[in-house]
Amino acid sequence: MAAACLLLGGVASAFAGSDQTWVARTGADTGACPITAPCKTFQYAYGQTNAKGVLSVLSSGEFGPLIIGKSISVVSERGEGAIVGANTWGSYGASIIVNGAGIEVKLRGLVIDPLVTPNYGIMLSNAKSLHIQDCKIRGGELGIYVGGASGGRAPGGDLYLSDTSVVGTRDIGIFIHPSSSGASMKVTMERVLVQNAATSGLSFFASGATVNATIRNSVFSGNGYHGISAAQSGVTLMADRVKLTNNSGGGVVATQGATVRIGDSVITGNAVGVNGYNGATILTFGTNKIDGNQIDGTPNGTVALQ
């Protein structure tokens, strides 16, 4: 099976051979993309990069959208590694699509604007893990989407997100939506900003799947619907030192059996502060600032610090 995959993948990846490849504003898509002769697009350079290798940005530029099907790091440390626009893939469009069974992918320092709807910024369809660090995503329909492939919602994969902002999406900022096939995934977020999404900032919907998420030191503000919404009994969320402010709907809303625990957090300026209903539970550590909402709401219960 693996060999068949490699052969099919070979249509575009053309016998990759380097552990580190480079792109630059002035590059050209020929050769093996060494640092002395960088290439022009992420997708071409990806094809020249060995599995588990590193694709690096040598100088600021726009390097086009990317479909990832093997373990790789895409790193922009020295300048702006931008993707403006998206690939289409079935009924989806995304600036970066991650889709490969068992792969481990790291994205660092990228600027992503998928432009018009219905394009997404980063779509995680299938992977063992996806690490997103120091990325800036603006516009498009969804900033980050877990789930979704033209053949049906795929297993997803563990998502690690840090020091990343998602601004001004035309729908949900970050949508965690794994398959209904009994999939299980973990989500960890640290220092994430989601602002000005047209609907919810961060939304979990796991029908039949299991999502265990921890969100720390992050801000969900000015979104057109909820700051964080959690739906379905498979969703368990810990929110620690999170700021949920100025959202047009709820600060944190849980429904359909989801469980949310929240501590040391600020919930203010929303239409409703907290709202756990329809079999869902929002538990407080008793350390939250929930004031100044049109309706503050009341957590469903408490949980003790230890």
Binding site: G9, K40, G64, L193
Partner: protein, 306 residues
Amino acid sequence: MLGARSRCFIAAAGLLLLAGSAQAGGSNQTWVASFGTDTGNCPQTAPCRTFRYAITKTPSLGVLSVIDSADYGPVTITKSVSILAIGAEGAIFDGAPAAVTVNGTNIEVWLRGLTIDLFGLSQAGIVFTGGSALHIQDCTIRGTTYGIDFVPKGGASELYVSDSLITNTRTHGIMVAPNSNGSVKAVFTRVHVENAGGHGFTFSGAGGGINAVLNDSVAAGNHSNGINVQGGAGSPVQVMVDRSASVGNTVRGVFANGALVRIGDSTVTGNQTGLAVTGGGTIASYSSNKVNGNVNDGAPTTVSYK
């Protein structure tokens, strides 16, 4: 759930599709560089020299990016765009009518990585008079009159500032003052305002209402109040101060004049007066603040955690 064979096929199909759809950024992204010239459409292969020229070649919802460090001059923004300087210093050293002016209808603007220094000239750093949202991230402003002058003339506007430093302004560091037809929601995350000639953060609701949050932010060494909150008749003004500091300011640490300030997990020290209210204003403490070491500490009311 897709089988491995199906995923493999889809991945290969995606790569085949890609061959026809991979794209460069085209005219959705423009570029400036120290070696650029103000002619043409500012693609990355022929960057322009000034923000003022390049913005005219940047479409609505497009991105204007900086290739290398230089002074790119003042700019007036009337459409939804991003101006990004990543891995380089995108500087603005003069400002007529301001270093950056934002004035449009329902526009969203994102400024990232700019360095604004007007060396004591009589202009402001960033002035916002119209639009739906302004995002300021990783910016440095110094030597201006106001650092940020957020004065929408009408409608609902939102201001988001994160990871930014404002120092040595001649007047207030950050001024939020909608007129009588406007309202503002503002969020400051890891923002430092230091050595302002006036207040550090000032909110004036004499016009429309204001709902603001300071997260992990600092007002230090300003020559009037650190956090100055003024209400207005019929226009509620409330500010949440969380895990922030107002220290070493010449007059008051936190001042609520006919407005409501909630404060928790914060430090107020080294000011003439720590906490002060007048005109029916309220400062409500979560009883988790360090308010000591001011000439007069002042005494807040209390509000409970939830």
